[in-house]
């Protein structure tokens, strides 16, 4: 349970990064959400054996992190946390796909290994982009941007409530779990049975809280409509930001820049 609480603490830290005041932070959230979507689309739409075309895409996270002054190690740690899942997804590729695609001297590299590496790189890029988005925008602003870009309000409100109460819920479950641990004296306690009743309790408590929150909303004149009070402008700098990056991404997607660079260098030095 400690690890979950740490993760939530990390989430809070990530959110605090969004209070920064760099040029990237000041951009309208919609621009950043849009460009992250374009980036993710361009990255994942690559062929499954592509590795070289993916590498130039690293320019986006690098530039964003340096411009927005985010702590690179913190973001890297967050990405590494996710790596075991990615490895689990791709680990069987080298087993099933043993056709040799690449020959480096005596070493033959099979298609499986290449597609595995491709999955890994893609995940690092997309997950990194998502973390950077939250780090420079803040989760709330991302939700509001999604809503203003056309996502139904119900979903946006759901996400906002999820984010607001995840902290309360983890605190509650952390307390319950600690109480159980302390009374099980370092042994297994009552085993899985005690966990199931704990989860049940948490559910009931959440239910009651939801009722109280609803009451609090009604008491303040809630009629089913959420009014956005924040005004922001999608101005010239936002348009420039979106155009420049999306042009670059589409170019990187259509042209194999690594290969171009390679042939340029080998052409220069034959």
């Amino acid at each position: 349970m400690a690890s979950i609480q740490n993760a939530v603490l990390d989430l809070k830290n990530l959110d605090l990064l969004a209070n920064g005041n760099s040029a990237i932070h000041r951009l309208d959230a919609r621009a950043k959400v849009l460009i992250t979507l374009v980036f993710i689309l361009c990255v994942v739409s690559n062929n499954r054996y592509e590795l070289t075309t993916l590498l130039p895409f690293f320019i986006f996270p690098v530039v964003m992190i340096s411009l927005a002054d985010l702590p690179p190690l913190f973001i890297l740690r967050k990405i590494i946390l996710l790596c075991p899942f990615v490895v689990a997804v791709g680990i069987f590729n080298p087993v099933f796909d043993q056709v040799i695609l690449l020959q480096i001297g005596p070493l033959g590299i099979s298609g499986g290994w290449i597609s595995f590496a491709s999955i890994l790189v893609r995940s690092i890029l997309t997950v990194g982009a998502a973390f950077i988005l939250v780090g420079v925008t803040g989760f709330t602003a991302v939700c509001q941007a999604l809503e203003r870009l056309g996502m139904p309000q119900v979903f946006a409100v759901q996400l906002l409530f999820l984010y607001r109460y995840i902290f309360v819920l983890t605190e509650e479950s952390g307390r319950a779990s600690r109480a159980r641990e302390l009374r099980s004296c370092g042994k297994k306690g009552q085993g899985i049975g005690s966990y199931s009743s704990m989860v049940g309790h948490l559910l009931l408590r959440t239910w009651q809280r939801a009722e109280r929150i609803h009451m609090a909303m009604l008491a303040r004149g809630f009629t089913g409509e959420f009014h956005a009070s924040r005004q922001s402008r999608f101005g010239a700098s936002e348009i420039r930001f979106v155009l420049a990056w999306s042009t670059l991404f589409i170019f990187l997607r259509l042209q194999n820049v690594s290969q171009l660079l390679g042939s340029l260098i080998t052409g220069l030095f034959p």
């Binding site: 959110d15 607001r164 809280r209 929150i213 909303m217 008491a219 303040r220 809630f222 009629t223 005004q231």
Partner: protein
């Protein structure tokens, strides 16, 4: 006609499981009064509060707020008149930032954005939380949360303030701050609390609930001096009326020595 009168007539509430939480409760609270509702756990305080802004429907009896009977049709108006501060600020602060939370009520009432902005700034200043305006609620301390929760209600300019255990879980300093804030309000105020010292300081009048009925209703000092009544209702005198524990101990010691 005043909006600030709360009249509860023969209110009875039976929960679906058959528990009669309120048996027969009647009282009238007039304009500008500050009233403490006290009672043991399970006396019916929270149930009563939930009736005051229509979160529960009475099994029988009626509630009038400023001569308007509380019913489905009048609910929106009555909820604007009564500002309800919940016991757990985490239930009340559900929006992403303090500003959004305080603006939630006024926006629902249909004020213009400029007006909302002004109101939010004013009430946050009033409760001393101006610097918290852009913070998310989960980054606030307990005392800050409480003050912001009060601001969320004040921003709707209610005539009557209803608060459930306002000083619960606050450190002594935050409790003092909050009590000073509450003392300066000109609204009709209704508190429920187990913090009897707070009740003694803030309320001229006290209503004692016991097992779903009003057992006493009168000036605070009179009620807190009635030892028999307090004992019956599982209450005791506020600490400030109990005398100094150190002196009492010394007196007892001297008494027992002189007896020996």
């Amino acid at each position: 006609m005043s909006h600030h009168i709360v009249e509860v007539k023969n209110l009875r509430h039976v929960y679906p499981d058959g528990t009669a939480a309120l048996k027969d409760v009647s009282f009238i609270i007039t304009h500008g009064e500050s009233v403490g509702i006290i009672g043991a756990n399970g006396a019916g305080k929270s149930t009563l509060l939930q009736h005051l802004n229509g979160c529960l429907e009475p099994s029988s009896g009626a509630i009038h707020i400023g001569h308007t009977p509380l019913s489905k049709g009048t609910l929106p108006d009555i909820r604007r008149t009564i500002g309800m501060v919940f016991q757990d600020p985490d239930d009340q602060l559900f929006m992403p930032t303090v500003f959004d939370d305080v603006a939630f009520g006024p926006l629902n009432l249909g004020y213009t954005p400029a007006d909302v902005e002004q109101r939010v700034t004013d009430v946050l200043e009033l409760v001393g939380a101006g610097h918290l305006r852009d913070k998310p609620p989960y980054h606030l301390s307990g005392g800050e949360k409480k003050r912001v929760a009060i601001a969320t209600v004040l921003s709707m300019s209610p005539d009557i303030l209803v608060m459930d255990e306002p000083t619960n879980g606050l450190d002594p300093f935050a409790r003092r701050q909050l009590m000073k804030l509450l003392r300066d309000f000109k609204h009709t105020r209704i508190f429920t609390s187990h913090d009897l010292d707070m009740v003694l300081e803030l309320c001229e009048r006290v209503i004692v609930l016991h097992e779903g009925e009003v057992w006493a209703d009168g000036p605070a000092l009179e009620i807190f001096n009635n030892d028999k009544l307090l004992a019956e209702c599982r209450l005791e005198k506020p600490f400030s009326m109990q005398g100094c524990p150190v002196c009492r101990k010394q007196k007892q010691d001297i008494f027992s020595e002189s007896q020996e």
